[in-house]
């Protein structure tokens, strides 16, 4: 049952060294503030999973907190490569990074299988793809009815899922809308879930009966952090800070510049630093 609490407590109560941690978000609603708290608390040997690891995963990898990454596209969207990830893969800096690489279809299916309580996902995929030769977790299965050969990957069930959403009500139910990615599946497939939200309201009011609402009993902790997705965005609250994504390309290019930026903006900072971004521009 969701408890409304402070960020530091929510992370401490739900994340452990060595966990399989999922912080999903497909460009939208990426839990930046929560990821920074994970970094501040100094967890070790995490396995991270995400379809589109971007800046927060680059930060965790660059800080040496990650043992293994499960992913399908590791880039800075619209800008280029993910440079701390690259440094880890190419030069083992600051440590070697184990990778398990999939396609988007495989990851999406794996999260869905995790939420559905199945051991694996079955789909029509990976035909002629080189990943089948380098990832032993990609196998095939024969349809018992038609004989068609289909791809199979293990279900993705995280120890803890952390997502950002637009709002919660005072009971702790969570609403998200817009580009909803794979967050619902990630939460329902995880053992524990932490959700940061832009605001807590008395009730959701006049919303579509089909809005994505995660009932409070699917979540362990709800934390209010206005602006907590910045430089990603929260539909209806603030728009994507594309300028920062471009800046990150420079910040992350050099190890020392990166470490200095992390020290100043993450290690010596806190969730309250995100609030300023909400007032920055018109809601979009």
């Amino acid at each position: 049952m969701a408890k409304i609490m402070e960020l530091a407590t929510a992370i401490r109560e739900n994340v452990n060294d060595g966990d399989l941690l999922v912080m999903e978000g497909f460009t939208h609603l990426i839990p930046h503030a929560a990821a920074h708290e994970v970094i501040r608390q100094g967890y070790k040997d995490l396995t991270l999973s995400r379809m589109t690891p971007d800046l927060i995963y680059d930060q965790l990898i660059g800080m040496g907190r990650v043992k293994k990454l499960i992913f399908s596209y590791a880039g800075n969207p619209g800008v280029g490569l993910l440079l701390r990830f690259r440094d880890a893969v190419e030069n083992q800096w600051p440590r070697a990074l184990e990778i398990e690489e999939h396609s988007h279809a495989a990851m999406a299916n794996a999260y869905e299988a995790g939420a559905a309580g199945l051991p694996c996902a079955v789909f029509r995929g990976y035909r002629g793809a080189g990943l089948t030769e380098v990832n032993p977790n990609i196998k095939s299965i024969e349809c018992p009815f038609t004989g068609e050969k289909l791809a199979a990957v293990p279900a993705l069930n995280a120890d803890v899922a952390i997502i950002h959403a637009q709002r919660a009500n005072k009971n702790g139910d969570v609403l998200l809308e817009g580009i909803i990615g794979v967050q619902k599946e990630a939460v329902l497939g995880a053992k524990r879930a932490v959700v940061t939200v832009e605001e807590i309201v008395d009730d959701f009011g006049d919303i579509s009966p089909n809005a994505v609402v995660l009932p409070r009993w699917t979540i362990n902790a709800v934390v209010v952090i206005a602006g907590g997705a910045h430089p990603s965005y929260a539909h209806g609250y603030y728009s994507r800070d594309n300028g920062f994504y471009k800046d990150w390309d420079q910040i992350s290019r050099d190890r020392d510049v990166f470490l200095e930026w992390m020290d100043e903006n993450v290690m010596k900072s806190g969730p309250q630093a995100f609030e300023v971004h909400v007032k920055k521009g018109p809601a979009k």
Binding site: A74, G130, V134, E185, G243
Partner: protein
């Protein structure tokens, strides 16, 4: 219209390949530019789909990422990512997938994963994202990519997604029933797969481009079709629409 660049000819030519009735899975970058130009010119009813789950989107400016807010706000429908890949892509609803590449070979196979060895790469690229299944589940594939020896290679470093594999019949042997790459538009020429060999060959050269230029920028022994024509130059309407779109995009991203 003066001072038309080869990059503009590439985008306009790529856009012309799309039809009003197409349902198109759009890759970010050059494909996104071409697809939106088609929508703003000859194909106003085209359905553009981005893998973030936005179906029938009509952005006023080009998105920086595949999940920019405007894609969602202007879409006919927004669905979750699992639904996108299961019902819409795997379900066979998409007529055209529009892709780009880091490396491409003569059969339209694509690498966006690594330069060098997979386990010890010289350059680790972002990876395939949606491409492995886009390449096999869409009715056909268009590719747009700037011509260079670095990109048009004899041997791919990694086989991210299949084009025509090692030639005729390869897709069929893998149980793939879709057409695969049917058109390649570069900043120098248009290429189509030869019906017998499945190898991309030049069918038209952009205005002012020579055969030698294309041969020089291609990393494999390049084939030309029996009749090579000149690519029709962009019209004033096409150029205006493209330049307006790029101008709006630059202003929007600078202001953000």
């Amino acid at each position: 219209m003066t001072d038309i660049t080869l990059a503009e000819i590439m985008t306009v030519t790529a856009a012309r390949a799309l039809k009003n009735t197409d349902v198109c899975f759009v890759g970010i970058g050059l494909p996104s530019e071409a697809c939106n130009l088609a929508r703003l010119t000859h194909a106003p009813e085209i359905t553009l789909i981005y893998e973030s789950g936005t179906i029938g989107t009509k952005p006023n400016v080009l998105p920086l990422s595949i999940g920019d807010g405007e894609l969602c706000e202007t879409a006919v429908a927004n669905v979750s990512v699992p639904e996108m890949f299961r019902y819409w892509l795997q379900g066979g609803r998409i007529t055209v997938g529009f892709l780009s590449a880091a490396q491409l070979d003569r059969f339209g196979n694509i690498n966006t994963t690594v330069i060098g060895d997979y386990h010890n790469p010289k350059t680790r690229l972002p990876g395939g994202g949606g491409a492995p299944e886009i390449a096999t589940s869409c009715g056909e594939i268009f590719i747009t990519l700037k011509h260079s020896k670095r990109a048009f290679v004899d041997q791919l470093d990694f086989f991210t997604s299949i084009g025509h594999g090692d030639g005729p019949g390869h897709r069929g042997r893998l149980g793939i029933t879709t057409k695969g790459p049917t058109r390649l538009v570069t900043d120098l020429c248009v290429m189509l797969p030869n019906p017998d060999s499945c190898e991309f060959e030049v069918v038209s050269l952009h205005p002012g481009v020579t055969r030698e230029q294309v041969i020089e920028a291609t990393g494999w022994p390049l084939a030309f079709a029996r009749n090579v024509s000149e690519t029709a130059a962009p019209t004033a309407i096409e150029l205006d629409a493209l330049r307006d779109l790029k101008q709006r995009t630059t202003e929007a991203h600078a202001a953000a």
